[in-house]
């Protein structure tokens, strides 16, 4: 299978390239990037061919592409790839507007290519196990869920805090993972979104986007859930952040901590503790599912529509902050 990498703006691309590089029957054809210096740097690092334009890369008769551009460019690159007949694995959040998302879904449908959203949390072993508990019914009806996807502010990659390129800050970056997990766990859609946000955390960085936020979702089955999407872990925190979910049901409670499988290391080299992760690698499972869905010509386990619905929640969260009240879904484009 011939695969191209479209942009290294999102550094998850490094992990995806690493996994693809170790898979049988995969040919990494090359890399293109809006930022030539960035693209050439990573192409060099991984021994990949660099293409000056996306058009040139797509002219290589690729089977599939991985898109890790700035959020605002997902739309343009996905439509280009679809029109070139390449299946698409696109980094989250899928889009920065409803119109973009609808156009992406339509383009992939029209070209009959798969569109998968990069939601590696669906392939995280503890979250998979947690979903089994929920769908087994042993918690009874789920009353509500208190969840977090907190992290450090991405300080080294400037577009994350650029409103135009990212579409927003913490609300955009960190709402979609857990929003997707909750849709997956509960098997139903969100009907209403409320959010509060601020830009107090990381104020030394003078961010132009929100750095702290809490979102409240209401699902069509009545379950409510909060997502703390704040960039609230300081730069010296022992790990990047984490994902936690506590689901409270009629007959029990489930706590999931997706990244708790760590050891604590105290090294003179760093002068502070670090918590390296030893749990199963979810990125590998995600890449594998994408490739398998292409080979078997079936829908991937996480679709473009899943990415659309999660990103719609983040967009609604921004709108709620603007108007100060809950916002109903689906959003009108």
């Amino acid at each position: 299978m011939r695969i191209g990498i479209m942009s290294f703006a999102h550094l998850h691309a490094l992990s995806y390239v690493h996994h693809l590089g170790h898979m049988a029957d995969i040919e990494l054809v090359g890399v293109a990037d809006d930022d030539a210096a960035r693209g050439q740097r990573y192409a060099g690092q991984y021994g990949l061919k660099y293409f000056d334009t996306y058009e040139a890369l797509l002219a290589e008769k690729l089977d599939a592409v991985v898109i890790c551009s700035e959020n605002a460019y997902h739309h343009r690159l996905t439509v280009m790839a679809a029109e070139a007949g390449a299946h698409v694995l696109c980094e989250k959040p899928l889009m920065t507007s409803i119109e973009e998302g609808k156009a992406m879904l339509a383009a992939c449908e029209k070209a009959d290519v798969k569109l998968m959203t990069a939601f590696p949390m669906r392939f995280n072993a503890p979250t998979i196990e947690g979903r089994k508990v929920v769908t087994s019914g042993s918690l009874g009806k789920i009353y509500g869920c208190s969840t977090t996807n907190q992290g450090k502010m991405p300080r080294d990659v400037s577009w994350f805090t650029n409103k135009k390129l990212a579409g927003g800050g913490a609300l955009t970056d960190h709402t979609v993972h857990v929003a997707d997990l909750l849709r997956w766990y509960l098997g139903c859609e969100v009907v209403e979104v409320f959010a509060e946000s601020n830009a107090i955390l990381n104020s030394d960085f003078k961010p132009e986007v929100e750095t702290g936020g809490i979102v409240m979702l209401k699902f069509e089955n009545g379950t409510f859930a909060t997502i703390d999407c704040s960039w609230s872990k300081p730069p010296f925190y022992p790990t990047w952040g984490g994902v936690t979910m506590e689901l409270v049901g009629e007959t029990g409670v489930l706590s999931v901590n997706a990244f708790k499988q760590t050891i604590a290391v105290y090294s003179h080299e760093t002068d502070r503790p670090s918590w390296p992760f030893w749990g199963s690698d979810s990125d590998g499972g995600m890449i594998n599912e994408f490739l398998t869905s292409v080979r078997e010509n079936r829908q991937p386990a996480v679709t473009g529509y899943d990415g659309f619905k999660a990103a719609e929640i983040a967009l609604a969260a921004h709108r709620s902050v603007e108007i100060g009240q809950p916002v109903s879904l689906p959003l009108q484009g």
Binding site: Y143, G144, S146, T148, E192, F194, E196, S197, N198, I200, L201, N202, S203, D204, T211, G212, G213, I214, M216, K218, G222, F224, A225, T226, D228, S230, S232, K233, P234, Y237, V248, E250, G252, V253, G324, Q325, P326
Partner: protein, 333 residues
């Protein structure tokens, strides 16, 4: 030396009686609708059981109100009118009007009003507050507070009667509403969702609330009477622009005891961790109140106005959960 009269001898009345015993004050009388329960407390502190509230008020310097929430107003007003100092369990009152009248009555009578927002006396909470106060984590951006447990069982169970207790929001979450306000200042608006079952054998009550403070900070507050017994957990997290304070649930349990059976042959209650203190928070609270009553020149840690503000936040959460809308704090008056 002060003579104390305790009204209400449930769990809190018992705690207060034991705590007054750790001060120079003397509990001279207790009164309860449950005479056996009152007698048990009276035996413990060696005092008289009263049947008549006015007789008890007549014989003491301080009335300590530990009765169900909806009765605070009447008892406090009677004691204040008689010129007695007031100690009152949280929540200050069942309604905002009652709370305001309690404050006015105590002011008019020139008596002190000391409200048992005991979380301000929990060493871990007081320590976190002092770390914030010392500027060690900069400006507060996002606070997370959790207080979850099982359904209180009393006979008769006034907690289960929303009109009397205000449910988990007024009875339990008020601790964290008060704490959030203590740490991050006045609250501007509240958004909350709640589920409450009112079946005969269950009174599951679960709520998630988002507070927006006037400072711009956001607080996430979780409260539950819905977890399987004997689970009871609290957690606090305060993120600022200069650092982070974490105190996850169960993180500071210095003793774990696992026994095949207790000396009397019964099975031990599993899962009850113990965090021993030489002076428990109720003792610290009552000792502080004793000092204030004695005229010590120290700041009162929780004023009547603070207790009323906490009640106002809780009532705003109730209103938001009912209407599904964000409630501005001044709407509760």
């Amino acid at each position: 030396m002060f003579r104390i009269g305790i009204v209400g001898t449930g769990v809190m009345g018992g705690f207060h009686a034991a705590s007054w015993a750790r001060t120079p004050a003397e509990v001279v009388g207790v009164l309860s609708l449950d005479r056996d329960q009152a007698q048990a407390v009276a035996n413990y502190v060696n005092c008289q059981v009263y049947d008549d509230l006015d007789a008890l008020i007549h014989d003491v310097d301080v009335i300590d109100v530990c009765t169900p929430t909806d009765t605070h107003h009447e008892i406090v007003l009677r004691a204040a009118a008689a010129g007695k100092q007031i100690v009152c369990e949280k929540p200050l009152a069942r309604t905002y009007t009652e709370g305001r009248e309690i404050i006015e009555a105590c002011e008019k009578a020139g008596v002190k009003l000391l409200v048992g927002q005991v979380v301000r006396f929990f060493p871990e909470y007081a320590l976190a507050k002092s770390v914030v106060e010392a500027g060690k984590i900069g400006q507060v951006g996002v606070i997370r507070l959790k207080r979850v447990g099982f359904q209180p069982s009393r006979n008769p169970n006034w907690f289960a009667d929303f009109d009397r207790s205000g449910g988990v929001i007024l009875d339990l979450m008020i601790h964290d509403f008060d704490y959030a306000r203590w740490v991050a200042g006045d609250v501007e608006s509240v958004f909350a969702r709640n589920v409450r079952s009112n079946q005969a054998n269950t009174m599951d009550d679960y709520c998630l609330a988002i507070l927006k403070h006037k400072s711009g900070a956001i607080s996430h507050v979780e409260g539950a009477w819905a977890y399987p017994a004997p689970l009871f957990r609290t957690a606090l997290e305060i993120a600022g622009d200069g650092g982070l304070i974490e105190h996850p649930a169960g993180s500071s349990v210095p003793l774990e005891i696992h026994l095949d059976q207790l000396p009397d042959g019964s099975r031990p209650n599993p899962g009850v961790p113990t965090s021993p203190l030489l002076d428990d928070p109720y003792v610290l609270e009552i000792q502080h109140f004793y000092e204030i009553l004695s005229g010590a020149n120290i700041p009162l840690r929780i004023t009547g106005a603070d207790a009323l503000a906490a009640l106002q936040i809780a009532l705003a959460a109730v209103q938001s959960a009912q209407t599904g809308k964000r409630v501005k704090i001044e709407e509760v008056a």
